[in-house]
Structures are given as C-alpha cells and as structure tokens.
C-alpha cells in the first residue's frame, strides 16, 4: 500500500515496513523514528547503517549478531531502540523485519 511520509510516496506493507528499500532516504528514516518517539542521534545512524549493509548482503539479522558486530553492544542497542530493538530499528532503516517462513 502507498503512504505519504517526509514529502514523498512510499510503498509499505500492512505493518508499515517499507517493501522497496530503494525508496528509503534519511528524511524518511527521521520521520519513521519520530513516529516511534525517537530522535535519531549519530549513534542511531551508525547502527542503522550497519543494519542496511547487512540487509544488502542478504545476511539475516539477529540481536546476538548485532551484539557481536562491534558496532553496538546489546545493552546499548536496547537503549537506542527500546522494547523490541531489532523490529523498531528495521522499520526505521527501511528493511524488512526478521521473519519466519509462515
């Protein structure tokens, strides 16, 4: 489905995740973060950039993997993106949430 955000139209799924990463830009990231009551700092962006790089490499993400990435430890990841950090950060980064087969 289409939605308007940060002055552009993007495609998202039922849960608001971007379905086409090519449509993402930093203004969209900021706007999606604001919807999650987050103001993005340079530390947030370092983590988001890491997630996007892994996504481009088709590499599945998990909390443990992010903790071992050297980019951020798990404690800080929870501080940056509270409650369900991987889900929240994925949505802001414009990448799909981690999923199972069904």
């Amino acid at each position: 489905m289409d939605r308007n955000i940060a002055g552009v139209t993007i495609q998202v799924n039922e849960e608001g995740y971007l379905t086409n990463f090519a449509q993402w830009n930093t203004a969209i990231g900021d706007a999606l973060a604001a919807e999650a009551d987050l103001a993005l700092t340079p530390r947030h962006w370092e983590v988001l950039n890491y997630l996007q790089t892994e996504f481009k490499n088709d590499s599945p993400l998990s909390i443990r993997k992010i903790g071992k990435s050297g980019v951020v430890d798990i404690k800080e990841f929870y501080q940056l993106f509270p409650t369900a950090p991987l889900k929240t950060a994925s949505k802001i980064a414009g990448i799909p949430k981690p999923a199972s087969c069904i």
Partner: protein, 411 residues
Amino acid sequence: MKRILILGAGTAGTMMANHLHKELSPNQWEIDIIDEQEEHYYQPGYLFLPFDIYEPEDIIKPIRDFIPHGVNLLIEKIDRIVPREQYVQMENGDRLRYDILIIATGTKIAPEETEGMQGEEWKKSVFDFYTFNGSLDLRNKLREWQGGRLVVHVTEMPIKCPVAPLEFAFLADSYFKNKHIRDKVEITYVTPLSGAFTKPKATTALQHLLDEKHIHVETDFAIERVDNENKMIVDYGGREIPFDLLVTVPTNKGDDLIARSGLGDDLNFVPTDKGTLQSKAWQNIFVLGDATNIAASKAVSVAHFEAEILTENIKRFIAGEPLNAEFDGHANCFVETGNGKALLIDFNYTHEPVEGTFPLPGVGPLRLLKESRLNHMGKLAFRWIYWNMLLKGTHIPFVSTHMQEAGKEFA
C-alpha cells in the same frame, strides 16, 4: 580423471551424489562423498520421536544404502578445505585434491552460544529436539513428566525448519490431551520474532490454531541467558519467563570445518549466490542445503529443489557455459498441527505461503494453508518418499522445481 568431492552425506549431499552419478561420465569424473558418521538420520523424524510417534529405527539407516555404486563413500573426519590449492585436508593427514567441491555440511545446534543453556538443568529440565540424542532424551523426559509450565523456545534465526518449534507446541497439546493431563500443562511459545506467524496470509489463516490449543505466545524475546537456579529464561530487555520444562531450539550454526577453512560468515554459513548456488568466494565451490547463507528455508524440500538446479549448473560449469541463476527459494513443507491433522505450505523467495490447491492447480488433492487429515497422511507418507525417492534423486511427479503460481490465492 577429474574429481568432484562432496562434503557431507546428509540429505543434500546424498541427493547430489545420486544426481551427478547419473549425469557425469565415469570415465572422466570420479565422485567422492565424505561423511564422519556411518548413519543417515531422517531429521524430520526428530519432531515425532519425543511424542512416541516414531521409534529410533524409523529414522536411522546406513548412509551406504543411499550412495550409488560407482560413487566412493569415505567415512572420515575432515579437518579443513584449502580452496587456494584445491584440496581437502583430512584429520588423518590425507589430502584429497578436487576439481569441483560441493559443500553440504549442514547446520548444527550451538547451545554454548547462550549463557547457562548447558548449565545444571541441561537434560534435566532443559532439552533440545534438533539432535537425535536431544530428541530421544526429551522423549524419555516426556514419558514421565507430570505437567507444569512447558516453554517452547527459539533462540535466534535462522534455524533449520523454522516451523518445527511451532509444530512441537501443537503436537505437545495433542500429546498431553491424549495423556489426560492437558489441564496440568501450560504451553508457552517464545520467539525472537514478532509473532508465532510472521507472514500476513499465514497469520490470518492460522492464528486460530494458537487460540484453540491454548498456546500462549511471547514475542520479540531475545534471550540473554538461562537462569538455572530460578528455572527461567531472561531476555536482554530483562523480561523473565519461568519454566518447569524448557524445550529450546539453540542457535544454529554451520559446521566448524567451515570456520577452520575461513569460508563462513559469523554463523559458519557459506556465502552463496542465491540463484546459482555457487560460492561467492570460489568459482569451483558450490554449496547447497543447510550449509548456505541464502535466505531460503533450511528444509528437505529446499535441498531437493536446489539439488536439481545445482546438477544442471555443475554440468554447465564443466562445459564452460554460464550458470543458470534459477533457484527461486522454493520450499514445500507439511506442518503438523496436532490431532492427526497437518497443513501444507508452498512458497519461495518472493511469495509468502498462501491458500490454494497442490500440486495440481484447482484440483489438489492437497489444500494449501488449511488443516486437514489428508495433509497429515502426506506428512507421514513423506518419510517413505524421503527414503525411497528423495535421497535417490528421483523427481517427484507433479512437483516442479520452481514454485507454480497457478492454483494459488495471491490476491
């Protein structure tokens, strides 16, 4: 004489041995397959063993029975692959040169990745069912267990057969009903994902199963440790879930030999082209089955479809032709839902499981994403198909390598 070496005589490696034996000239190509154990385990059976539905003898057969004459089977331990010099170093000191290498070394559980998982309670009240021994130990535990809080838990993705832990929860509901102790058992399903189901169509079609079976779901749980003293799992956000019996799917990793060879990612899975199945690092190394890092399910059906495509690509590689980027991530799996019923799901990289008919569009006889007794019969019949057709590389009638869009309700 040139040589193809296949590492691993599990599902994927055995299928490749059978395919390549049929396709390649024995005057030009020697085919060797290496495994460290003598037995082939029917891993889908690990789901049924704990509930006394299968016996150990249903799921173990000698590897040798499934390797064609003319293919050499070596039961030896592999130390590492040396891709630059095109040989495999064996633990016994032998060096096996290869022209083409096929990696089919699968995936293993790594409970040591989670603090406390192998603590005091391991094998007392903490079990896995992704190994033969784990599944058997759990069977013995369940036979005597009088009830309490059963927690079925997934540590992190990716895992082999992502739907198996959910099937375990469904079968547990039936098992305890049949033992007339269902009222004494609380079943909680704990997942690092956003739900027991993560795809919209499956969620709509299947959410009712969890309600009917009174399975409580805890989502977005990223486990930090198992607290053995207080018998609970704790996540990085501080959430605590108590258990009397924890059935966990530990972190899944590729074989250590991949790490020793410097060929893996951080979970020892081999970076692989998702269409051609060629390794990203070396042109003459191909990878299939659970050992790859591709975003297809780690499942028998995936290995089966991959084996058909990889066989074509190896013939092309030998002939110096460009590879076909044909693998579409196709998977086709029966999902046990308990009470003698099952679902069938069919999906690929781009299409989520939807409702429809299978394998014949509009006819079936199997219905997709709907519970039925016929699907359960299909799941049980699958064991026969596995031993007698799949491992031997026989094409399954009506089931195509690529996912078919006809007969499915995508709208």
